[in-house]
């Protein structure tokens, strides 16, 4: 059964349609990516799924219908979003940011929190070095690590990543994608929004192409990566 099943999702800002009848599914333990040009509605899709934007259509998480559920309730149910702008607590320490990520399990006690913290530090050793620093003082790559770490502290069943490579140096992008691959072992399902289509198609099992608010291609990511039209539009002509 799918972890996330979006059916016929529509979002409009004022009179302008941003998403028009989008359907999409993420299976347990799967990595699913949504690629597409700027302004296609990719971030809108994640924000609607998280409950930040009002949307038409149905969104099911496991066997819960999310209609009318607030953001906090969706987090409680096991969804985590790492937004494009990271939305960290800039004037609080790295460790406090991570501890607040554990808010979902606040009743679980200190030991469980420390265990989750250790897991995140193991995944991003750089955050351990920076744990006493304010989040606002971090570099772009570290901020992305912290945003992902904070989301993982909630131990979600579904992790949604909005452009994790945006504005980062190529070496750091590679690290981030390594981490995404490593997360597959933990069993968390991942919905990945990316402009970096090449890297996204490499890590994902399944892919969707979103153009002006509609899904235009969907399929196995290997198949999509081989599709001539996708290659031309999103991957560039790559000799060899």
């Amino acid at each position: 059964m799918s972890v996330l099943a979006i059916d016929n999702l529509s979002v409009a800002y004022g009179g302008i349609t941003a998403l028009d009848g989008v359907s999409l599914a993420v299976g347990a333990g799967q990595i699913v990516t949504v690629i597409g040009p700027n302004g296609a509605g990719k971030s809108t899709l994640l924000n609607a799924a998280m409950g930040i934007l009002p949307a038409g259509g149905t969104i099911r998480f496991g066997d819960t219908n999310l209609a009318g559920m607030k953001v906090a309730a969706r987090v409680q149910a096991g969804m985590s979003l790492v937004p494009e702008k990271r939305e960290l607590f800039a004037t609080m320490s790295v460790e406090d940011n991570l501890r607040l990520g554990f808010y979902r399990h606040r009743g679980a006690g200190r030991r469980a929190m420390l265990a989750a913290l250790e897991e995140v530090f193991a995944l991003f050793p750089r955050l351990r070095e920076r744990r006493r620093q304010d989040a606002g003082t971090l570099s772009g790559g570290e901020r992305q690590m912290l945003a992902m770490g904070r989301a993982l502290m909630a131990r979600p069943r579904l992790l949604m990543l909005d452009e994790p490579s945006l504005g980062l140096a190529p070496l750091i992008v590679r690290d981030i994608f390594h981490t995404i691959t490593a997360l597959r072992k933990t069993g968390v399902a991942i919905l990945l929004i990316e402009q970096n289509a090449r890297a996204a198609l490499q890590v994902a099992d399944h892919a969707y192409v979103l153009e002006t608010g509609r899904v235009t291609f969907a399929g196995d990511s290997a198949a999509l990566a081989a599709d001539p039209r996708i290659v031309e539009m999103y991957l560039g002509k790559n000799p060899g």
């Binding site: 998280m50 930040i52 906090a72 987090v75 985590s80 607590f89 808010y103 909630a154």
Partner: protein, 345 residues
């Protein structure tokens, strides 16, 4: 002016400044968490003072009925906002916080008031009656507006202030009240005679600040409030219910307002509309501190208190003018330093 007068004025200023500091702190807190400029905070000072004075005289304070009325109104508002939702737990919580809690406090007050149970119980009862009004008002007036621009929230806050002043007249009457000091003891240090009440004010202010510091620095709830203040969207994304954070911030502001009223009523006669001017000084301090800095607000509050006591000595007719004019150079300096800043989003 000799050094004795100087010291007395400084002492007076520091005592008043301590009260303003508490008010400024809660204004900064409420603004950071909810973006509401809580103009009506001053009314809580008056309500706290008048409730304590009534209890001290063995009377049942009118604010008990106001509390019950607000509870019922908040219950109805909560039902209306939550229409279509069938979460039994949420409904239970709503009933508990808006009907049961005020009802229990009212019964307790009706039982205890004629017994004249002594200062400590009276203070606790005053806080129990006045503090819950603030989160109830948040539910009624601000929760439905949570996503509105700052200006709309400010207009709502001004309207709330006017409504509460009127309600103050209805429930407390037009007479002013004064209560006896917590302690008649007088401490003599060199040329200074420090009345017990001043020590109470200073001590409680410091204790409350330390407690707030611990709350925001150590507890998860405190950190969640700070997180909401720093980044609302980020807070929602980690699962912090931001309405809950707003309720807690308003409850703290109500508590601090009521406590300030209890502390101040032995020093000066308080009328139903006295709160506004006291709250305005706290507001001045919060603005001078930049409406974002807690230490800045505390420091500015002490300065406002000292400026007030010196100007009432030299030019008492212009006391208010001098204190409130102090805000202008600060605003000028800030706008010159930062240039124009855009309204958020």
């Amino acid at each position: 002016m000799d050094s004795t007068i100087l010291l007395i004025l400084l002492q007076d200023g520091a005592v008043n400044g301590a009260i303003y500091a508490l008010l400024a702190l809660s204004l900064v807190l409420v603004f950071a968490v909810t973006r509401v400029i809580y103009v009506a905070q001053g009314e809580f000072v008056a309500y706290g003072a008048l409730t304590y004075a009534a209890l001290d005289g063995g009377q049942l304070p009118g604010s008990v009925w106001l509390l019950c009325g607000l509870g019922v109104a908040a219950f109805i508002a909560g039902l209306w906002q939550g229409r279509g939702q069938t979460d039994a737990g949420l409904l239970l919580r709503l009933g508990l916080e808006t009907v049961l809690l005020p009802g229990a406090v009212a019964l307790l007050a009706i039982w205890l008031a004629p017994l004249k149970p002594g200062m400590l119980v009276e203070v606790a009862l005053t806080l129990a009656i006045v503090t819950p009004m603030s989160p109830l008002l948040y539910r009624i007036a601000f929760q439905p507006l949570a996503d509105a621009p700052v200006l709309v929230l400010l207009i709502a806050a001004v309207a709330l202030h006017l409504a509460l002043t009127g309600l103050g007249l209805v429930f407390f009457g037009p007479e002013g009240f004064r209560a006896p000091a917590f302690s008649e003891a007088i401490l003599t240090v060199g040329p200074l005679t420090i009345p017990g009440q001043a020590l109470w004010i200073g001590g409680l202010t410091l204790a409350l600040m330390v407690a707030l510091f611990g709350f925001f620095g150590r507890t998860l709830t405190g950190k969640a409030l700070r997180a909401t203040a720093v980044n609302r969207l980020g807070a929602r994304l980690v699962g912090i219910p931001t309405e809950r954070a707003g309720l807690i911030a308003f409850a703290l502001a109500g508590f601090i307002g009521a406590l300030s009223g209890v502390l101040i009523v032995p020093l000066t006669t308080v009328y139903y509309d006295s709160g506004f001017m006291i709250g305005l000084r706290g507001f001045t301090a919060a603005i001078i501190g930049g409406l974002g800095s807690y230490p800045g607000a505390v420091l500015a509050a002490v300065l406002v208190g000292v400026a007030e006591s010196f100007s009432s000595f030299w030019a008492s007719a212009f006391k208010e003018v001098i204190v409130f004019t102090a805000i202008i150079p600060v605003l000028l300096w800030r706008s010159l330093r930062h240039g124009s800043t855009e309204e958020e989003e």
